[in-house]
C-alpha cells in the first residue's frame, strides 16, 4: 500500500524539473521492497540471494560496459 502511495507521489514530481537519478532511486526502492517482501527474498537462504543478485551484477556490467564503450569511441574522420 505504501508503495502505491510512493508511486502516485513520484508521478507528480514530473511536473517539476527533477533528475533521472531521483526517479531511478525511487524505482529501486520500490523494486527492493517488492523483491524483499512480495517475493519473500528477505526470508530466503543465502543461495537464493546469490541467484537473485548475480544477474543484477551481470546487468550492471552489461549496461555499464556498453555505455563506456559507445562513449569512448573515437570517430575516424
Amino acid at each position: 500500500m505504501i508503495l502505491t502511495a510512493i508511486t502516485v507521489y513520484v508521478s507528480y514530481i514530473h511536473f517539476g524539473v527533477f533528475n533521472i537519478v531521483v526517479a531511478m532511486g525511487v524505482a529501486s526502492i520500490k523494486a527492493s521492497l517488492v523483491a524483499l517482501f512480495f517475493m519473500h527474498l528477505k526470508f530466503e537462504d543465502s543461495i537464493t540471494w546469490v541467484f537473485a543478485l548475480f544477474p543484477l551484477s551481470l546487468l550492471a556490467l552489461l549496461i555499464g560496459m556498453t555505455i563506456l564503450d559507445t562513449f569512448t569511441r573515437v570517430v575516424v574522420p
Binding site: 533528475n19 517488492v34 559507445t70
Partner: protein, 201 residues
C-alpha cells in the same frame, strides 16, 4: 515419511523440501535470465537517450503519464494480492487463494486494457514503432513486457483452475509460489520501465 521417499525414488529427489527449494531456485535462475533479456533493451535505451536527449525529451511528452501511473498502481496492487495468495495457500486456505488469484488476474487484464487504450491512441495519432528511435524503444519494451504479462496471466489462470480443483494444500503449493515469483518479476520490470519511458525530466 520413509514410505513417501521410496515412492518418489526412480532417480527423482527424495526429499520434498529439497524439491521445493530447487523449484524456487530454478525460478530465480529463470528470472535472472529475464532480467538480462530486458537489460539489453535498457542498455539500448541508455545509449540512445544519451545520444539524442532532445528527441527523447520532446517525444516522450506524447505519452500519457496518467495512464502509465494507473498501470503502475494496478501492477503493484496485483503483486500485493499475489503475495497474499501465496500466504493464503501456505495456510491451507484454498478458497481465499482462489479469490486472490482471481483478483490478480483481473488486475493483469486491467493493465492490458489500459495498454490497449494507450496503443490505439498512439496509432490513431499516426505514431508507430518506426516513427522514431524513442518510439521504437517504447513499443518494443512495453510490447515485450505486455507479452510477459500475457504469459504471466496464462500461468496465473492455470494456478487458479488448479486451486479450484483443490490440488494445492498447505503442504504442497510450490507452483503457486513459483508462479507468483514470475508475476512479481513482471511487476519489477514495469517499475523500472515506467519512470524511464514516462517520467523523463
Amino acid at each position: 515419511m520413509e514410505q513417501a521417499s521410496v515412492e518418489h525414488s526412480h532417480g527423482h529427489q527424495m526429499d520434498p523440501y529439497v524439491e521445493y527449494s530447487s523449484s524456487k531456485l530454478g525460478m530465480w535462475l529463470f528470472l535472472g535470465t529475464e532480467i538480462l533479456l530486458f537489460g539489453g533493451l535498457f542498455a539500448a535505451y541508455a545509449i540512445f537517450r544519451a545520444k539524442y536527449p532532445e528527441m527523447f525529451a520532446e517525444q516522450h511528452e506524447e505519452l500519457n503519464k496518467q495512464m502509465g501511473a494507473i498501470n503502475t498502481c494496478i501492477l503493484i496492487f496485483s503483486s500485493l494480492t499475489m503475495a497474499m495468495g501465496v500466504t493464503a495457500i501456505k495456510r491451507g486456505k484454498q478458497k481465499l487463494t482462489a479469490i486472490l488469484l482471481l483478483v490478480t488476474i483481473i488486475c493483469g487484464l486491467g493493465f492490458g486494457a489500459v495498454k490497449y487504450l494507450e496503443y490505439s491512441a498512439k496509432f490513431s495519432h499516426h505514431i508507430y514503432p518506426d516513427t522514431s528511435i524513442f518510439f521504437s524503444l517504447y513499443f518494443l519494451m512495453t510490447g515485450l513486457h505486455m507479452l510477459h504479462v500475457f504469459i504471466g496471466l496464462l500461468i496465473l489462470a492455470t494456478m487458479f483452475v488448479l486451486t479450484l480443483k483443490g490440488k494445492f494444500t498447505a503442504e504442497y503449493n510450490t507452483p503457486v509460489e513459483v508462479g507468483g515469483l514470475y508475476w512479481h518479476l513482471v511487476d519489477l520490470i514495469w517499475i523500472y520501465l515506467f519512470p524511464l519511458l514516462y517520467l523523463i525530466a
